[in-house]
């Protein structure tokens, strides 16, 4: 029987398509090449900056530019000004955008398209145009305050904040949650603060960190408004000691990356929760 079966076995050979396998190989190779070029495009300047920031004035490897950072004149005040502006910007952005977005999701869902277009405008309009216009229109007392920059940064941050919050609210059944909360006796403030905001944690964090990154990296407006924020200080100090100013820029970049990693980690944990919710 075994031999009979063996005799009747026709060896199966998968149909060969001679052109397919090398073609796939070529595609894979092409993709790899594109990735490599893209990576080089992004990483080479960073590598060059890092390399430069770890050199002394003679071009030898040295940690001196980094160890010298804390003692640089004006860096501390520039950093704290940037942080103050970031905090004020984040506070105004959240106070303005969170209730607005909740209201739009609840009462004006058709207005979301218009909102999307409006929030893209800060990307379309060059910052230099925006700040020149603001400096022309702003009253004197406001022009004298660095917090004018915070008001402008709120507009600059809008595209990122809008998209983060829109995605977060889209993942919630906001209408039902609000109505459930109200039927139990909660007013609007309690509903937003105790029900909506805790469930938007990831979206809020994402919006906050993006705003922070934006404020810590914005140069044009701060420079034209004559305030020495961190990016303005980095550019100005570059004339005095390019190695130290590059080291500060690298540290600033590292801090931003760490924050972005934090967002991704939190987002992953949220998606895992949502997956569990879907499967349960």
């Amino acid at each position: 029987m075994a031999s009979l079966v063996a005799d009747n076995i026709v060896e199966f050979e998968p149909p060969t398509t001679p052109s397919r396998s090398p073609r796939r190989h070529r595609i894979r190779l092409g993709r790899g090449l594109i990735l490599l070029v893209a990576a080089a495009y992004f990483l080479l300047p960073i590598y060059a900056a890092l390399h430069f920031s770890l050199q002394d004035n003679n071009g030898n490897f040295s940690l001196q530019p980094i160890t010298a950072i804390p003692s640089q004149p004006g860096l501390g005040s520039a950093f704290f000004l940037s942080m103050r502006l970031a905090i004020v910007t984040m506070a105004i952005t959240m106070l303005l955008m969170v209730p607005t977005m909740i209201y739009v999701h609840l009462k004006l869902p058709r207005f979301r398209r218009v909102m999307e277009v409006i929030t893209i405008l800060p990307i379309v309009i060059p910052p230099i145009v925006l700040i020149l216009g603001v400096l022309q229109a702003a009253p004197g007392w406001l022009k004298a305050s660095p917090y004018l920059l915070s008001l402008v940064y709120v507009i600059l941050a809008m595209p990122f904040v809008y998209r983060s919050l829109d995605a977060g609210l889209g993942a919630l059944d906001v209408k039902t949650l609000v109505e459930a909360s109200r039927s139990l006796g909660a007013g609007w403030v309690a509903t937003i603060w105790r029900i909506i905001v805790p469930n938007l944690r990831s979206a809020l964090l994402s919006a906050t960190v993006l705003t922070l990154a934006l404020v810590l990296g914005e140069f044009t407006m701060a420079s034209l408004d004559l305030w020495s924020t961190l990016p303005v200080w980095i550019v100005a100090f570059d004339q005095t000691n390019a190695h130290v100013s590059t080291a500060v820029a690298m540290l600033s970049l590292l801090a931003t990356w760490l924050l972005l990693t934090l967002i991704v980690t939190l987002d992953r944990s949220t998606s895992r929760q949502q997956r569990r919710k879907r499967t349960s």
Partner: protein
């Protein structure tokens, strides 16, 4: 999955004993060109369980939302315990609501969800935890009190939502199709639980559903709605046996429609005079249709009968026949033990088993 048998302190407020009377008075609510409520009125007795039943778009959910305070009527009044609450915002109406979609707060455990309303009423932490525990026990979920909504099944989430709505000792309990997202088995279990709880707490309850089986099995009275109005408000048995309009007869249960002619006593149905339900003088002029239930029609095998069996459906104790008769299809229930006599193509004579028949104006041919 059973409701706890002891009520303990889970009773309505003594001052609210027997539940609150509710009056919806001539409510009108329009959305653009659509008139969702068109002079809708309903009186609900204290502690009564009323179901709003109707097809999609009939206005039943709008009526509930107006009662809850989530929609403002264009005109009309909402009265609770004799007071006009039309202008009172939702958060001050003291109405517990269970929603169609799962509405538990995702950031809170089951216990915290139930305790949320009590916290807003400034109850002390220990007291509200104890009460939340009692209510979760009442809905059979005390073992799940520390779970988050995503860790609970759909049926469990709706039971927590019910406990949360009851925790605030509401004047009125509002249920907006709370069972529609659940599978059949869980739905049947939860249906019994809700009814048992409602009866024990004697809380005035308004239940919105498009499922007539749910409405008829749970409610003290059913309000059938159509085009923003109440077509008929009656007990389930009256609604089924004595529908006052053709819409109710056709929406609730199964009815067959047959062209009939006037006769001396009423109308000529299946070759005999049949009395007409209600006021004879109220019969509309012109051509008439009769509406008959399958159990109100009898079929007898007869070689010269005018009806022909065209289809049979086995329903357990009964078998439903489709009988082609005078250009219409009449549904007839026969006992399954006798159904073998009614093969497809068998000629039958039909008769009326009921005392009277509902007559309506003829529906225009589509």
């Amino acid at each position: 999955m059973t409701v706890a048998t002891h009520a303990r302190s889970v009773t309505a407020d003594p001052s609210a004993e027997g539940g609150a009377p509710v009056v919806l008075d001539n409510l009108v609510r329009t959305f653009g060109a659509t008139r969702a409520l068109d002079g809708f009125s309903l009186d609900i007795a204290p502690g009564e369980f009323v179901a709003l039943l109707g097809p999609s778009g009939c206005g039943k959910t709008t009526a509930l939302r107006v009662l809850a305070g989530f929609e403002q009527p264009d005109s009309g009044r909402v009265m609770v315990r004799g007071g006009d609450v039309s202008a009172v915002p939702a958060q001050r109406r003291d109405m517990g609501m269970v929603f169609q979609s799962y509405s538990l707060f995702p950031n809170m455990t089951a216990r915290d969800n139930v305790a949320f309303g009590l916290q807003l009423r400034r109850q002390r932490s220990q007291a509200r935890r104890a009460r939340a525990g009692e209510l979760l026990e009442l809905v059979g979920l005390s073992d799940h009190s520390m779970k988050y909504p995503h860790q609970l099944s759909g049926g469990q989430q709706q039971r927590v939502a019910l406990a949360r709505a009851l925790a605030i000792e509401p004047q009125v309990l509002l249920l907006d199709e709370p069972l529609s997202a659940l599978d059949a088995k869980v739905r049947a279990e939860l249906r019994d639980q809700i009814r048992a709880l409602q009866q024990r707490l004697a809380i005035t309850t308004v239940f919105v559903t498009h499922d007539q089986e749910e409405a008829l099995s749970m409610a003290d009275r059913v309000c059938v709605m159509s085009n923003g109005r109440a077509e008929q408000v009656a007990t389930p048995s009256v609604l089924y046996a004595q529908p006052s309009t053709a819409f109710v007869a056709e929406f609730v249960g199964v009815s067959s429609r047959l062209n009939v002619a006037r006769s001396t006593r009423g109308v000529n149905l299946f070759g005999s005079d049949a009395p007409v339900r209600g006021d004879v003088h109220a019969i509309p002029h012109g051509d008439l249709d009769a509406l008959v239930r399958p159990e109100d029609v009898s079929a007898t095998v007869a070689g010269d009968g005018l009806g022909i069996v065209t289809h049979r459906s086995f329903l357990g104790g009964t078998t439903r026949l489709d009988v082609g008769y005078a250009g219409a299809t009449i549904k007839v229930d026969v006992r399954s033990s006798e159904a073998d006599a009614f093969e497809l193509g068998t000629r039958v004579t039909l008769g009326l088993n009921a005392r009277d028949v509902l007559v309506t104006g003829r529906r225009p041919a589509s």
